[in-house]
Amino acid sequence: MTQADAHITVTDLTMAYGDFVIQRDLNFTIRRRDVFIIMGGSGCGKSTLMRNLIGLKAPAKGQVSIDGKNLWGIEPEQRERAMRRFGVMYQSGALWSSLTLAENVALPLGEYTDLSPAEIADLVSLKLALVGLAGFEEFYPSEISGGMQKRAGVARAMALDPDILFFDEPSAGLDPVSSRRLDDLILELRDSLQTTMVVVTHELASIFTIANNSVFLDPETRTMIAQGDPKTLRDHSHDPKVTSFLTRGEHE
């Protein structure tokens, strides 16, 4: 791994709500075109780590650097510009409920590009088609199923062709087939658009299908206890917690 390859670098990160420390001393690097998994048992701070990475929450200590620039050491405007290079799919989709799917995807395009409304409409149709929602442009989020909302959330996250896509529990609440399609979509986007993917999940099937790098957070010791390719971790890790997690506790 060369330094130029590093896309997101986390150094000595401590996350806390007030005095309550969630995780401490996190150190890892996400390379370009990685599909990077943040995993760990329930309540270990996976989603909080994601909020730190996307700049929604300032770290209690340590740094999150994107392309070598510390997200919290730069001016707020610069940070906002950096954040715009992220696409985020939130756990519940987080579509804006007063807007149609098309308007949801179009809003960031309208804000940050000089495209004409017709061009935006074409782009919106393309993004929705990519996630298998062609023809649903005029539906409101409440009118479609949970799985479709998630996919629409992906379409919105992809709207500005981001450098990094974050997914918060993409397969939670999806049936196996939809979940598989979402995995394929993640891999396809990585391969075709060279996007770096950061995925918070604990779905093993999905982890082994898509990941080539990961970090394992442990809720008891409140720090990371493993990193690397999940398949390698499963087969070669010496930490019983990690192997137990990655084999559903079958090889304890």
């Binding site: 715009r84 985020v88 987080a94």
Partner: protein
């Protein structure tokens, strides 16, 4: 099963029994019988504790459960209590005598050791509660000032033509806080005018000064009650709605989604709501004034035998432009306050459905407190200024 039906039904209804007897020099035998289900009054584990209390010598506890006809969680909780009491005294519990299902479930319950979760809160004394409340008050005051500051910034952006929000959103909120609020404002203002007239009429009739009911109702509505009633209605109706809408968006992470795209929720969500209330509240205040005066007129004409024209002429001479101006000014200020209270509580809302309820309640309370306190200050200031 058929052959034993008579005795079986008899025995399933048999109350759960517990017999404790010594077995050997250092062990106790617990003989359980009958139906150990939650539907029956179960023996307490206190008997066991008593049996233990007498001798230090007990080292083992065994079970005989051959007499148990049926069991459910009731038996399990009883056994867990026995286990913990025995554990405290370092007495060995021999599970061999228990039904197999019970043994497996007890094992399952013990599989994950209880975690030290630091959840046990210490009982707090009065001083601590007072201190916490005061700190909470100051941090709340700070949050309010911050929110007002952010709103001013958003308005700055609006004046510079840089604010980003959708016109359709503004139109929707305008419709919701204006025309849609008319029926309830009509009803309340009309009744308030009516009530004021009744109260005045009883007193003024004694002096034969019924005509001054028109002055009373007119002045009270224009200077005070029109703006205040419209304000309180809007605080309950719109302030709560704003808080609930924004709070729900907070729960759905919609607000986070705005932030990651670099779109200011203050501009996109809060600004149209504030603008709408600031535009509509003065109009609603005027409307409430007129309807309230009409309510007073109904009493004046029907009860006090005043002519309609006479009543309105009297109202006209009693009311100056400055009286309406005072009410209008108050109404506008109340509009801003309600919008601040509603939007602030919504944006501060936590990430759960209970938090949205708290936010809505808090928005109404905050809004009404803001209105009443401000109205009190206005009363003093206007008096001092002689307006």
């Amino acid at each position: 099963m058929a052959a034993v039906s008579a005795t079986a039904t008899q025995s399933t209804k048999q109350a759960p029994g517990l017999e404790i007897s010594p077995a050997g020099s250092d062990s106790l035998l617990l003989k359980l019988s009958g139906a150990w289900t939650l539907a029956n009054p179960l023996p307490s584990s206190g008997d066991f504790e008593e049996a233990l209390g007498t001798g230090e010598s007990v080292r083992r506890v065994a079970f005989d459960t051959a007499g148990i006809t049926e069991w459910d969680s009731g038996l399990l909780t009883f056994l867990l209590k026995i286990e913990s009491q025995a554990g405290e005294r370092h007495i060995e519990v021999e599970p061999e005598g228990l039904p197999e299902g019970v043994r497996r479930l007890l094992q399952l319950a013990a599989a994950v050791p209880p975690k030290a979760t630091h959840k046990a809160e210490k009982p707090r004394n009065f001083i601590a509660v007072l201190g916490e409340q005061s700190l909470a008050f100051f941090s709340d005051a700070k949050a309010t000032v911050t929110f007002v500051g952010e709103s001013v910034q958003a308005f700055g952006a609006l004046l510079r033509g840089k604010a980003r929000f959708r016109g359709t959103d503004l139109a929707l909120v305008l419709q919701d806080v204006g025309p849609a609020a008319l029926p309830i404002v009509t009803l309340i203002s009309f009744l308030v005018g009516l009530i004021l007239a009744f109260v005045g009429a009883v007193q003024l009739e004694q002096f034969g000064a019924q005509i001054y009911v028109a002055n009373l109702v007119g002045l009270a509505m224009a200077r005070e009650m029109g703006a205040m009633m419209a304000g309180i209605i809007m605080a309950g109706r719109t302030g709560a709605a704003f808080a609930a809408q924004l709070g729900t968006m907070q729960v759905n992470e919609e607000i986070d989604a705005f932030k990651t795209l670099g779109i200011q929720p203050m501009e996109f969500l809060v600004l149209p709501r504030m603008l709408a209330l600031m535009l509509m509240m003065p109009l609603l205040t005027i409307y409430a004034n007129v309807v309230g005066i009409l309510g007073g007129a109904v009493v004046g004409v029907n009860m006090l035998d005043l002519g309609a024209t006479q009543y309105f002429n009297q109202t006209q001479t009693a009311l100056g432009t400055e009286d309406f101006a005072v009410g209008l000014f108050k109404g506008s200020v109340f509009g801003v306050l309600i919008a601040i209270a509603g939007c602030m509580r919504g944006m501060q809302s936590g990430h759960s459905s209970a938090a949205v309820g708290v936010a809505a309640t808090s928005a109404v309370v905050t809004g009404i407190v803001f209105i009443i306190v401000t109205d009190g200050i206005f009363a003093v200031v206007f008096n001092a200024l002689g307006i």
